[in-house]
């Protein structure tokens, strides 16, 4: 009796093990043939961001859910680098979400490998005409549209004028200022504060800032073919500019201020440790709120006198549909809703910058907070200047970004000279871009 019971137990245990092993192997489905999309649909949307952004996006999606009870929308989000890491794993395991956020420097990684849907194939669902061609073109690769711009923004200078006033230093003209004005006023502020604050945090290792400087000199980071488009001499000037700012006391030497993280309240600008640095315009509201007011959005130094404007209107992010989506049409209709619907964008607010659709942007503007209105106004003012159109990030741009961070660290700690830094950066650009 007992031995039979024991045998039964062993058999049960064996079967359970086998079942577990089998279930571990399954679940790889692969792209099913395109359905006609009648009946209930399930769409999964993923994005990158914090809880505040998630709340805004969920609110907009709830509106869509109300109008389309047949569609089930699942969502997921991560903030920081984890987002792209998880996305890659999901694509690798044939579990791609239907609609996803792509970054300027990740779009090529995905589109080049045929994992994204050409949005022209679902053009019945999306109103492209509402979006200016220059903005729409940012998501194009080889004539195919792989990403729809979710919002526009710019890199601009955030200047804490409250600190200038506190220490009795005159705020320079924030539209016409030259690089010399920038460095001199920052040095003066550092001095006036007795070293309590730094006039600026010169973004020497930041690729967006360097890109602006290069364009001001008539060059750029890369050209249409994804080749480096700058000279070693101009790159040297950029690193020398940091040296000049550091020698003048305008910007701190390496290690003088703590970098706690990327969020506004962790940044040196947000903590009031430095009085100016580069910020994305759409983040202006959160920086100003962190500081309790007193922050101004400024043009980059040198813009007024440069050969050409260095600042650009850039997509803050892209929405892309995966090529393996089983409900591409439904997904496209959600995408259209997120980009072109006024009510949806009122709920989204300025989280992705200014809506890419000008009519929507106008309709939304009046409902925005004063800070978001200020950043929108800055974008509109900037867009009226004679700007160059951003060249989409080539493959390898993300790697080049981290190379420049490393080179910037080496410069600020005096491990290499500006000339050596420029040489290294050019070599890095030549080896990483287009690969």
């Amino acid at each position: 009796m007992t031995s039979r019971l024991r045998r039964r137990l062993t058999v049960a245990a064996t079967l359970t093990t086998a079942a577990l092993a089998l279930s571990a192997c399954g679940s790889a489905a692969g792209g099913a043939p395109e359905a006609d999309e009648t009946g209930p649909q399930t769409v999964e949307i993923v994005w990158k961001g914090d809880a505040t952004r998630a709340a805004a996006i969920e609110a907009a999606l709830d509106l869509y859910r109300e109008k389309n009870p047949d569609v089930t929308i699942k969502t997921d989000f991560q903030s920081g680098d984890e987002y792209l890491q998880k996305l890659a794993i999901r694509f690798a395991s044939n579990d791609a979400p239907d609609l996803m956020r792509q970054e300027r420097d990740s779009l090529r990684d995905y589109s080049d490998r045929g994992t994204l849907l050409d949005l022209h194939t679902v053009e019945d669902e999306i109103d492209f005409d509402s979006i200016p061609d220059t903005i729409l073109g940012a998501g194009e690769v080889g004539g195919k549209l792989y990403g729809l711009v979710g919002g526009i923004t710019s890199w601009s200078m955030g200047v804490n004028t409250a600190l200038f006033e506190e220490y009795g230093v005159e705020v320079p003209d924030l539209e016409e200022w030259s690089w010399d004005d920038y460095i001199d006023s920052a040095a003066e502020l550092t001095k006036a504060s007795g070293g309590a604050v730094w006039g600026t945090d010169f973004p020497v290792g930041d690729i967006s800032s360097m890109g602006i400087f290069l364009r001001q000199q008539g060059e750029d980071l890369w050209d249409e073919d994804g080749e480096p488009a700058f000279t070693e001499a101009t790159a040297t000037e950029w690193f020398e500019l940091w040296q000049e700012a550091k020698d003048a006391g305008a910007t701190p030497p390496g290690g003088a201020i703590d970098v706690l993280g990327a969020a506004a309240d962790q940044s040196a600008l947000g903590r009031g440790v430095v009085a100016s640095t580069i910020i994305p315009t759409n983040a202006y509201a959160s920086y100003d709120a962190t500081l309790g007011g007193g922050l101004e959005i400024a043009y980059f130094p040198g813009e007024a006198t440069a050969k050409q404007r260095g600042q650009q209107i850039i997509p803050s992010m892209f929405w892309s549909i995966s090529a393996s989506s089983k409900s591409p049409k439904t997904t496209a209709s959600i995408l259209d809703f997120l980009v072109n619907d006024v009510e949806a964008n009122k709920l989204l607010g300025g989280t992705h910058g200014q809506p890419a659709n000008p009519k929507v942007a106008e309709a939304v503007a009046e409902d925005l907070s004063a800070d978001d209105q200020a950043s929108f106004a800055h974008l509109i003012q900037l867009s009226e200047e004679d700007l160059t159109a951003p060249i989409p990030d080539p493959a390898g741009a993300a790697e080049l970004r981290s190379e420049l961070t490393t080179i910037g660290d080496q410069v600020t700690f005096g491990q290499i000279t500006p000339a050596e830094a420029a040489k290294q950066f050019l070599a890095a650009a030549e080896s990483t871009l287009g690969s």
Binding site: T10, A18, G254, G255, A256, A398, E399, T406, F413
Partner: protein
């Protein structure tokens, strides 16, 4: 005296372990149930061996996670030979290992010797010294360490008091790795507990005999304690080296995943992770994983080879 890792006590003949029971003919039914009971183990092994084999294959491919891998032969290996960042990550990892392992073992042994003096409240001290090891590689402690050594941290202010304007030791490429080494040395609890157990197994009669012969403390430590606990030192050394070569969390958290400043905390595993998960180069990452396996196996092999010259087994 059974603290030693002497395998002979463990691998005596099966009969000796079974207590001298006469051999019995194994029935086929017994065999079958043995296999059935082993099934979960086979299942578990499949889950290890299959990915193991796949990663070996991937090491010879170009695999970006999004499209199927393509076989590229020895391309990844050639690339490893000429990849300066890989060489930098090896330099970081070896520096870290060769400094932090001896220091943390020495600290662990020193504290264990002190605690072995039969002081009051030993268990409290033991717990207190062990505590950092429980927290050591956790995110919270690395964050704490970042704050202590940051531009406005206690250590930095302390140095400033003596006129050393060091700035943030974490953002400085010359000192960032040193901060991580000090963190590692601080977490000596696990080897300390093992050392303590070993020290308590050394028979006091040896010391009594030695002191009768006029041997001082240091002499006793060198000639009695060290040889008797050498198998435990060996054990701790092997484990610590393997652990140090695989360091990841500390570098990742303190540099926000970049291995910065200026690649000074770019541990091998961190670079491997970057290649696989942020650079979408799983083929190269797999090849790197195999190189790490070979490196660890080599160091462990050297350790096992060298032990015959300094590890003293009592038998």
């Amino acid at each position: 005296m059974v603290v030693t890792l002497d395998t002979t006590t463990l691998s005596g003949s099966p009969r000796a372990i079974a207590g001298g029971e006469p051999p019995r003919r194994r029935s086929r039914r017994n065999d079958r149930s043995a296999y059935i009971f082993l099934l979960p183990w086979f299942g578990g092994m499949l889950l290890t061996v299959v990915p193991f084999g796949i990663s070996l294959y991937l090491a010879f491919t170009d695999y970006n996670l999004l499209t199927p891998p393509t076989f590229t032969g020895f391309e990844n290996i050639e690339r490893m030979i000429s990849d300066p960042k890989l060489h930098q990550s090896l330099a970081v990892t070896f520096t870290y290992t060769f400094i932090s392992v001896p220091l943390s073992l020495a600290a662990a042994l020193a504290v264990a010797v002190l605690l072995n003096k039969g002081i009051r409240g030993l268990s409290i001290y033991r717990s207190v010294f062990y505590l950092p090891s429980l927290l050591g590689s956790s995110v919270a402690v690395v964050m704490l360490w970042s704050a202590i050594f940051g531009a406005d941290g206690i250590i930095t202010r302390f140095l400033a008091f003596f006129g050393v304007q060091a700035g943030s030791l974490i953002q400085n490429p010359d000192t960032a790795l040193g901060v991580l080494i000090s963190l590692q040395v601080w977490t000596f609890g696990a080897p300390m507990v093992i050392f303590l157990a070993a020290l308590r197994q050394v028979p006091t009669m040896y010391y009594e005999a030695a002191s009768v012969d006029g041997a001082g403390r240091w002499r006793q430590f060198r000639s009695i304690t060290l040889p008797l606990i050498s198998p435990v030192i060996f054990f701790n050394l092997v484990l610590a080296m393997i652990g140090a070569l695989q360091t990841f969390t500390q570098g990742y958290v303190m540099s926000n995943g970049s291995g910065g400043p200026a690649n000074s905390t770019l541990f091998y595993n961190l670079y491997l992770y970057q290649q696989g998960f942020t650079g979408f180069d799983m083929g190269y990452a797999s090849a790197m994983a195999w190189l790490l396996l070979i490196i660890i196996a080599a160091f462990t092999g050297i350790n096992f080879f060298a032990q015959r010259y300094w590890v003293h087994y009592e038998s």
